[in-house]
């Protein structure tokens, strides 16, 4: 099975959300990494066929997915970033409803719904109304609905949003278990999720794919740009203002800084092995700073 994203482009009046993106996906887990506004959600919507590209297409084993129609949607499981629910539905009602839309028979839907509720640890609240659920519970229910038809292509937009660390670990294990013979594409801001689950990472910025490869391959692209140095608090403050600092650790009366920079930041700085988080900061430090400003 091979999915090809053929020069996908989505242009709006004043913005190009996705710009001539090309990628070939075979069974495995793909982590889509990018800041807010990078075009991840737009890309995922085009992959799922709910948004028409301005140009380009998505093919599956050479066939246009839009032309395949219900044959393609039968293979698809999708969890949007913001998804709703009918307030009067219980968790079981919700899964039975989506199962009907996915074409499952009533008997198969019931069996599958019960299995998935157990997998996402919602079996005790199966008959409780969704409006009484916490955010994390709703997210788990959303993951469950995406898996109802045992999809061959699973698209998850920020699937770990709202999940606590324990739930995130459970989610990672679930994805690892089910990803055999499937194409799993998920987007996230949480670098550790991508690091642990994704076999291939796609880094997106301003609608373009700037990097694609295994985690160690793409972190190797910033070899020589990550430094560690000691500084007193005053100097640390100056360095933080001038460079992108991925971590500060206080050690007695000195600070240990981890800096992402193309130039050596200070005299005693030593190069260290880059991580995915360093890569994220290298490419998205401006966006991260902008978000911090908006929050404050």
């Amino acid at each position: 099975m091979k999915m090809t994203l053929n020069r996908l482009t989505k242009r709006y009046k004043d913005k190009t959300a996705v710009d001539s993106l090309f990628a070939e996906l075979t069974p495995g887990v793909y982590g889509l990494l990018g800041a807010n506004g990078a075009g991840k959600t737009t890309l995922m919507r085009m992959v799922c066929g709910i948004l028409n590209p301005t140009s380009g297409n998505v093919t599956l084993d050479g066939r246009d997915t839009l032309a395949m129609g219900e044959g393609y949607r039968d293979l698809l499981g999708y969890l949007p970033q913001d998804f709703g629910y009918y307030p009067v539905f219980t968790a079981m009602d919700y899964l039975m409803y989506v199962a009907a839309l996915k074409g499952l028979t009533k008997r198969a839907a019931k069996v599958r719904a019960n299995e998935l509720l157990e997998i996402v640890s919602l079996q005790t609240v199966a008959n409780k109304k969704i409006r009484a659920f916490s955010g994390g519970m709703r997210q788990r229910l959303g993951i469950a609905q995406a898996l109802l038809n045992d999809p061959k292509i699973l698209v998850l937009d920020e699937p770990t949003a709202g999940l606590d660390p324990k739930e995130r670990v459970r989610f990672r294990n679930l994805i690892s278990e089910i990803s055999k013979d499937k194409i799993v594409l998920f987007s996230t801001h949480i670098v550790s999720d991508v690091e642990y689950i994704a076999g291939t990472i796609l880094v997106m910025k301003d609608g373009r794919l700037i990097h694609q490869g295994k985690p160690d391959e793409i972190t190797a692209s910033i070899n020589g740009y990550v430094w560690e140095c000691r500084a007193d608090p005053r100097e640390a403050e100056l360095l933080s203002a001038k460079y992108t600092v991925s971590n500060i650790r206080h050690e007695g009366n000195q600070d240990m800084l981890r800096i992402v920079s193309e130039e050596k930041p200070c005299e005693n700085a030593v190069q260290v092995e880059p991580t995915l988080e360093d890569l994220y900061l290298y490419y998205f430090s401006e966006e991260a700073a902008q978000q911090e400003k908006e929050v404050s």
Binding site: G49, I50, T54, E70, F83, G84, L101, K102, T105, A108
Partner: protein, 262 residues
């Protein structure tokens, strides 16, 4: 024959099961279960089964509201017999009840957009068009049944020809549906329900005012009613077609129209 039978029975009784590996037997059972399960999950329902399943997911308040409305109308028209020239009361009831009956189904049709479910529903085997089509078919048939009951009751009570009663009932119904379908085509959010309610209120106001107009419901005006009926029917068909085309347009601008085959 009997000796052969006896011999067969003896052979069968003395048969011993050959030795087998229990682990292999367990594996065979697992594989059989997995194959059965795969076949069970691979089966897909057709459109008619999907339609019957959707019936279960239509909100119970819709059915309740329709029953209450129907009973109210029947009560209102059955209180006394009407002479042909005392029909103003009946027409006032129609003016209020029929647009309301037309409106009742639309919040249910729009709920995918109102509750943010459209993105998930749009990616499933049965497309948004089929889902909306199923809802409209179910609710439309229910409306048709209600209208038939109202038509029968009021025609029987008043003695007005059935064909004229059809015109008096279906013109306000069509006009309200056209307005709500136009809303459905252009507004894909929670606000859609409020706009449909506004259309309903407007139609109630217009038709109830018209029910006081002398001569509007007289035999001489039947030609005008026939024209209104066919015009509203044509517009209804056009709006229905346009609304269907718009169902896969989930995100704002006209550029987002999907071209997924039905």
């Amino acid at each position: 024959m009997k000796i052969n039978e006896r011999k067969i029975r003896e052979d069968l009784a003395s048969f011993s099961v050959p030795a087998y590996d229990p682990e292999k037997m367990r594996e065979t059972v697992q594989l059989a279960k997995a194959a059965y399960r795969e076949r069970q999950f691979a089966a897909r329902i057709g459109f008619w089964e999907f339609l019957s399943m959707q019936l279960r997911f239509i909100g119970k308040w819709v059915w309740l509201a329709q029953v209450v409305l129907l009973l109210s109308v029947l009560l209102a028209v059955s209180r006394r017999s009407f002479a042909v020239n005392e029909m103003q009361h009946v027409f006032l009831v129609f003016s209020c009840a029929v647009p309301l009956l037309a409106f009742l189904g639309f919040p249910e049709i729009l709920k995918s957009y109102a509750h943010g479910m459209a993105e998930i529903e749009g990616c499933t085997r049965f497309s948004m068009r089929k889902l909306m089509g199923a809802r409209m078919l179910i609710l439309g048939l229910a409306d048709l049944c209600c209208m038939t009951v109202i038509l029968a009751a009021s025609a029987a009570r008043s003695g007005t020809p059935v064909l004229r009663m059809i015109l008096y009932l279906f013109v306000p119904f069509n006009v309200t549906c056209c307005g709500c379908l136009t809303v459905l085509e252009h507004v894909k959010s929670r606000q859609g329900g409020y706009f449909c309610a506004a259309v309903c209120v407007l139609c109630i106001a217009v038709f109830s005012q018209l029910s006081f107009v002398k001569g509007f419901y007289e035999t001489a005006a039947t030609g005008m009613w026939i024209v209104l009926f066919f015009c509203s029917l044509a517009y209804f068909a056009t709006e229905l077609f346009r609304a269907f085309r718009s169902f896969d347009r989930l995100f704002c601008s006209k550029q987002e129209t999907l071209s997924v085959p039905w």
